[in-house]
C-alpha cells in the first residue's frame, strides 16, 4: 500500500526551519505489518537524512521513540501501519521543549523522576544467613504493574495537567513512586508520600485518563495514581483499589 506520512519538523540550525512546519513524505510498498519506526527509517535513509528521532530497541522496551502519532502518544516501534491508515501524522510529544524534529529535551521529565526518590531504601540489617530478603508472592504481586515502566514519557506528555503546568511531577514519576511505596521491603514510602502530597504532586492529577491508554506497557496508570492518592489520604500503605474509587477530587478544588 501507499502511505503519506506528515511529520511536524523543526531545525534550530536551518535558516527558515527554526519554527515548526509540516512536511509530507510518500512511501510506496508499505506492508500492513511494517512498524511506523521502519517507515521513519525509510524516510531518513532513502529520502531525507536530516529527519531526526531517537530509537534503539525497535520492539517497545527501551522507551526511546515516544511520539504523537495520529494525535495520540505511542512508541513508533510498537505501532503497525495497518492500524494507522494511509494518512499518518507524526509529531513530537507535547509539553517538553523540542530540540530538533521529533527529539525533545527529556531533562525536565527525568528531573521529575529523580524528585520522587526512585530508589530502594531499606536500612535494616540484612538477613543473617546472607541470603535474599523474603517477600510473599502476594506482596510481590501488589506492585507488579508499575515495575513495567520504561520511562518513555508517553503518559506524562499526554496529560493536560502536565501541559498546563510543567512543574507537575506527572504520571510517570508517580508510577515510579508507586513501585516503591507498595513494595513491602522498602522503608521510605512515607517520605515519598510526603513528596507526592506537595502541590505539584498527585493532586494535580484530574483523572483525565489520557495516560492509561497512552502507556505502551499497558500499565494501569490512573489506577496507580489513585492508589497513591488513597495512601496519602490514609497515610497508610494500602492494597489494590477499584478503578471507580480512584476518582478523588483534589483538595481545594
Amino acid at each position: 500500500m501507499e502511505v503519506t506520512i506528515r511529520i511536524k519538523r523543526q531545525n534550530p540550525e536551518m535558516p527558515g526551519k527554526e519554527k515548526p512546519y509540516w512536511q509530507e513524505f510518500v512511501l510506496k510498498d508499505v506492508e500492513p505489518t511494517d512498524r511506523l519506526l521502519e517507515m521513519l527509517h525509510r524516510i531518513k535513509w532513502e529520502q531525507d537524512g536530516t529527519l531526526t528521532l531517537r530509537r534503539s530497541c525497535a520492539h517497545g522496551v527501551c522507551g526511546s521513540d515516544a511520539m504523537r502519532i495520529n494525535g495520540v502518544n505511542h512508541l513508533a516501534c510498537k505501532v503497525l501501519m495497518k492500524d494507522l491508515g494511509p494518512k499518518v501524522t507524526v509529531e513530537p510529544i507535547l509539553g517538553l521543549p523540542v530540540i530538533k524534529d521529533l527529539v525533545v529535551d527529556m531533562e525536565p521529565f527525568f528531573a521529575h523522576y529523580r524528585s520522587i526518590m526512585p530508589f530502594f531504601v531499606n536500612d535494616t540489617p540484612l538477613p543473617e544467613d546472607g541470603r535474599e530478603r523474603r517477600q510473599s508472592q502476594a506482596d510481590r504481586e501488589v506492585f507488579d504493574d508499575t515495575t513495567k515502566c520504561i520511562l518513555c514519557a508517553c503518559c506524562t506528555t499526554s496529560c493536560p495537567s502536565f501541559w498546563a503546568n510543567g512543574k507537575y511531577v506527572g504520571p510517570a514519576a508517580i508510577v515510579q513512586a508507586h513501585r516503591f511505596i507498595f513494595d513491602t521491603r522498602d522503608q521510605a514510602w512515607e517520605d515519598r508520600i510526603n513528596i507526592l502530597a506537595e502541590p505539584n504532586g498527585v493532586w494535580r492529577c484530574r483523572t483525565v485518563y489520557n495516560c492509561t491508554p497512552a502507556c505502551p506497557r499497558e500499565i494501569q496508570v490512573t489506577r496507580a495514581i489513585g492508589e497513591v492518592k488513597l495512601a496519602i489520604r490514609r497515610r497508610k500503605r494500602e492494597g489494590i483499589v477499584n478503578t471507580k474509587d480512584v476518582v478523588i477530587a483534589a483538595p481545594g478544588g
Binding site: 531545525n11 534550530p12 540550525e13 536551518m14 505489518t33 512498524r35 531518513k44 535513509w45 532513502e46 531525507d48 537524512g49 536530516t50 531526526t52 528521532l53 531517537r54 530509537r55 534503539s56 530497541c57 525497535a58 520492539h59 517497545g60 522496551v61 527501551c62 522507551g63 526511546s64 510498537k78 503497525l80 530540540i99 530538533k100 527529539v103 527529556m106 527525568f110 529523580r114 526512585p118 530508589f119 530502594f120 531504601v121 531499606n122 540484612l126 546472607g130 541470603r131 535474599e132 530478603r133 523474603r134 517477600q135 510473599s136 508472592q137 510481590r140 506492585f143 507488579d144 515495575t147 513495567k148 520504561i150 520511562l151 513501585r179 516503591f180 513494595d183 521491603r185 522498602d186 499497558e218
Partner: protein, 603 residues
C-alpha cells in the same frame, strides 16, 4: 575542546557500566559515566529470561555445576578460571541485586524464583536444574532499572547522550576518551586515570538480529583502531528463536517453561539432535538443528522457519509423555511470559496461548571482544600483558567465560560479576597512580575523521553500505560457514570499507543531534568488526560452539584449544591484520578435577 577530568571514565550505562560505576564510586573514585543513550534505554533492558545463579532455591545446585555447564556450553573454549569466577560471583551478585530492591518473582516460601534454561544442569549434566532467577520475562529491565536507581541514590555523574568516538592513550596507558555531545555536536575530552569500556555488542553487523539499532560495537571498534586486539571474534551467537523475519527475541525461558520446537511435519525435532535435554540444548546446537531441518525441507510450509509452541495443551502433552508432573494453563503462560505474548500479539498478530510462533535463528550475542583477564584488565597478547588503566566488562569484553558459545542467563551474570570487578579494580588502580597527561593533539584525529564524513561528496548513502554488509554477513558468516563463504565475506567487506572511506555522502550538515552523521560513523565501526569477524572465522579451521565450518566439521582439540587474537595496524584505508593463536585456554579446573576435561559435547 572542553576537557572534563574524572578519575574513572565508564563508557556505557548498561548493566556492566552501571555496576562498574557503582563499585568504582564505592571504592572512593571520582567517576563519570558517558553513554550515547539514556541509561535506561540500554540494551540490558531487553534481556528477558533470567540471570543464572546456583542459589538452589528449588533444586539442589552448586557453583561447580554452574561452572561446568558454562565450560561445556562454551565447547571447552571458555577460560575455566573465568567460568568459576562467574559461577561463584553469580550467587553473591543476585543476592546483592535483591538487596538493592530488584523485584524478583518469588517461590511460595518467598525466596527468589528460578526456572530452567538451556544447558543448565546439576551433577555435571545429569538433569536440568532450575537456576535462572527471573522477574517475569523482564529480568534485564529490572536489573537495568535497579542499577540506575542505585546510581541516582549514590549521585553518580552521568553524561547522557554523549557518544564516545575515540580512546586516548599516552605512554602505553589509557588516559581518557573523546566524546561528542549529541545535543550540540561539540567534542569533549574526558581525561581519566582509568577507562572502562562497557559499551555492549554489535549484532547490527547482521540483518536478522535481536539487537537494538544502537548495538554497533563502538567501544570494540575504537579499541581495535588504537591497537587493542579483538579476541575470539569468530564466535557470534545465533539465538534459535527470533521472530520470523524480524529477529525480535523470544526468550529461551519459553522452552524453560515447557515450550517445544516443532517442524513443518509437526515433529518435535530436537529429540533427534539432543535426546536427553532436547529443546533445552545449548543455543548453537538448537540453531544448527533448525537450519538442518530447513535444509531437509522440514521448514513450515516449505519456508525457512519452524514453530515454537507453548500452547498449554502441547506443553502438557509432552510433560505427560516424559512422566513430568508439572502442568501449565493459559493463566500461567500469561503470568510467566507477558512480554513475549505482547510481542507476538503486536508484531505477528499471533496469540501464543492459542497458536504456535514462527521463529528462525537471529544474530544475538558477541562471545568475542576486548580481551581481559579475570580482573577485567584489558590484555593484549598470549602473555596476558595488561594495558595500564584500561578495563572492559560486559558484552563488549571477552574474559572469556563464555568460550565458543554463551549459555542463556550467563550474560547478565557476566555484566554484574565482571562489571563489579572492573569498578573495584579501577578504583584501586586510580588511588595508586598519578595523572598521566593527555597526548599532544588529543582529539584532533577523530575530529578530522568526522569532518571527512560530514563533507565527503560521494555517491553512496551509508544505509546502502550497511544493508549490503548485513546481507553479506547473514549469507556468509552465519550459523554455517566455509572457507569460500568467509573469504567472499572478507573481500566484500573490504570493498565496502573502501567505499565507506571514499564514496559516501550524508544529508545533514548540522551539528545539533546529527544522527545522520552518527549513524555513518557507527557504520564504520560495524564494518571494522565485520571484517575481523570474517578473518578470524576464516583462520579457525575447525568447528566449535557457534563457529560451524562445513569444510571442517570436527572440533580439533589438538590444535585449537586456543583463543584467536586479531590485531589491526596501519592506516584506515589500508589496514594490516595479524592473527595470533598462541593464547591458550585456561584449564585450571581440569588440572584438579578431570570432569572438566574436554569431551564430546552431547546434550
Amino acid at each position: 575542546m572542553k576537557v572534563h577530568k574524572h578519575e574513572v571514565i565508564v563508557v556505557g550505562a548498561g548493566g556492566a557500566g552501571l555496576m562498574a560505576a557503582l563499585y568504582a564510586s564505592k571504592g572512593g573514585a571520582d567517576v563519570a559515566v558517558v553513554s550515547k543513550l539514556y541509561p535506561t534505554r540500554s540494551h540490558t533492558g531487553t534481556a528477558q529470561g533470567g540471570i543464572g545463579a546456583a542459589l538452589g532455591n528449588l533444586d539442589d545446585d552448586s557453583p561447580l555445576y554452574h561452572a561446568y555447564d558454562t565450560v561445556k556450553g562454551g565447547d571447552w573454549l571458555a577460560d575455566q578460571n573465568a567460568a568459576m569466577v562467574l559461577a561463584e560471583g553469580a550467587i553473591e551478585a543476585v543476592i546483592e541485586l535483591e538487596h538493592m530492591g530488584l523485584p524478583f518473582d518469588r517461590t511460595p516460601e518467598g525466596k527468589i524464583s528460578q526456572r530452567r534454561f538451556g544447558g543448565h544442569t546439576s551433577e555435571f549434566g545429569k538433569q536440568l536444574v532450575r537456576r535462572a532467577c527471573h522477574a517475569a520475562d523482564r529480568t534485564g529491565h529490572m536489573i537495568l532499572q535497579t542499577l540506575y536507581q542505585q546510581c541516582i541514590k549514590k549521585d553518580v555523574n552521568f553524561f547522557d547522550e554523549f557518544q564516545v568516538v575515540d580512546l586516548l592513550m599516552n605512554q602505553g596507558q589509557a588516559v581518557g576518551v573523546v566524546a561528542i555531545q549529541l545535543g550540540t555536536g561539540d567534542f569533549h575530552i574526558f581525561h581519566g586515570k582509568a577507562v572502562i569500556f562497557a559499551s555492549g555488542g554489535w549484532g547490527r553487523c547482521w540483518n536478522v538480529t535481536s539487537n537494538a539499532h544502537s548495538m554497533t560495537g563502538d567501544g570494540a571498534a575504537i579499541s581495535l583502531r588504537r591497537g587493542i586486539p579483538m579476541q575470539d571474534m569468530e564466535f557470534f551467537q545465533f539465538h534459535p528463536t527470533g521472530i520470523y523475519k524480524m529477529g525480535i527475541l523470544i526468550t529461551e525461558g519459553v522452552r524453560g517453561e515447557g515450550g517445544v520446537l516443532i517442524n513443518g511435519k509437526g515433529e518435535r525435532f530436537m529429540e533427534k539432535y539432543a535426546p536427553s535435554v532436547k529443546d533445552l540444548a545449548s543455543r548453537d546446537v538448537v540453531s544448527r538443528a533448525i537450519y538442518d531441518e530447513i535444509k531437509k525441507g522440514n521448514g513450515v510450509k516449505g519456508k525457512d522457519y519452524v514453530y515454537l509452541d507453548v500452547r498449554p495443551e502441547t506443553v502438557n502433552r509432552f510433560f505427560a509423555e516424559e512422566g513430568k508432573k508439572d502442568r501449565i494453563d493459559a493463566a500461567y503462560v500469561e503470568k510467566k511470559l507477558p512480554d513475549i505474548l505482547d510481542f507476538c500479539r503486536t508484531y505477528l498478530g499471533v496469540d501464543p496461548v492459542h497458536e504456535p510462533m514462527p521463529i528462525q535463528p537471529t544474530a544475538h550475542y558477541a562471545m568475542g571482544g576486548i580481551p581481559t583477564n579475570v580482573r577485567a584488565e584489558v590484555v593484549i597478547d598470549e602473555n596476558w600483558t595488561v594495558v595500564p588503566g584500561l578495563y572492559a566488562a560486559g558484552e563488549t569484553a571477552c574474559v572469556s567465560c563464555h568460550g565458543a558459545n554463551r549459555l542463556g542467563t550467563n550474560s547478565l551474570v557476566d555484566l554484574v560479576v565482571f562489571g563489579r570487578i572492573s569498578g573495584i579494580r579501577a578504583a584501586e588502580y586510580v588511588r595508586g597512580v598519578d595523572w598521566t597527561p593527555l597526548p599532544a593533539d588529543a582529539g584532533k584525529e577523530i575530529e578530522a575523521e568526522f569532518k571527512r564524513i560530514r563533507t565527503s561528496k560521494g555517491k553512496t548513502k551509508p544505509y546502502e553500505l550497511r544493508a549490503r554488509m548485513q546481507q553479506v554477513m547473514m549469507d556468509n558468516v552465519g550459523v554455517y560457514r566455509t572457507a569460500e563463504t568467509l573469504q567472499k565475506a572478507a573481500d566484500e567487506i573490504a570493498t565496502l570499507r573502501e567505499r565507506f572511506l571514499t564514496d559516501i555522502s550524508i544529508d545533514d550538515q548540522g551539528y545539533k543531534f546529527n544522527t545522520d552523521l552518527m549513524e555513518a560513523w557507527e557504520l564504520g565501526c560495524l564494518l571494522d568488526l565485520a571484517e575481523v569477524t570474517a578473518l578470524s572465522a576464516l583462520n579457525r579451521t575447525e568447528s566449535r560452539g557457534a563457529h560451524s565450518r562445513d569444510d571442517y566439521p570436527k572440533r580439533d582439540d589438538e590444535n585449537w584449544l586456543v583463543h584467536t587474537l586479531i590485531y589491526r595496524e596501519g592506516h584506515a584505508r589500508d589496514p594490516k591484520y595479524t592473527l595470533n593463536t598462541k593464547k591458550k585456554v585456561d584449564r585450571s579446573l581440569e588440572a584438579t578435577d578431570p570432569r572438566f576435561a574436554p569431551k564430546v559435547r552431547v546434550y
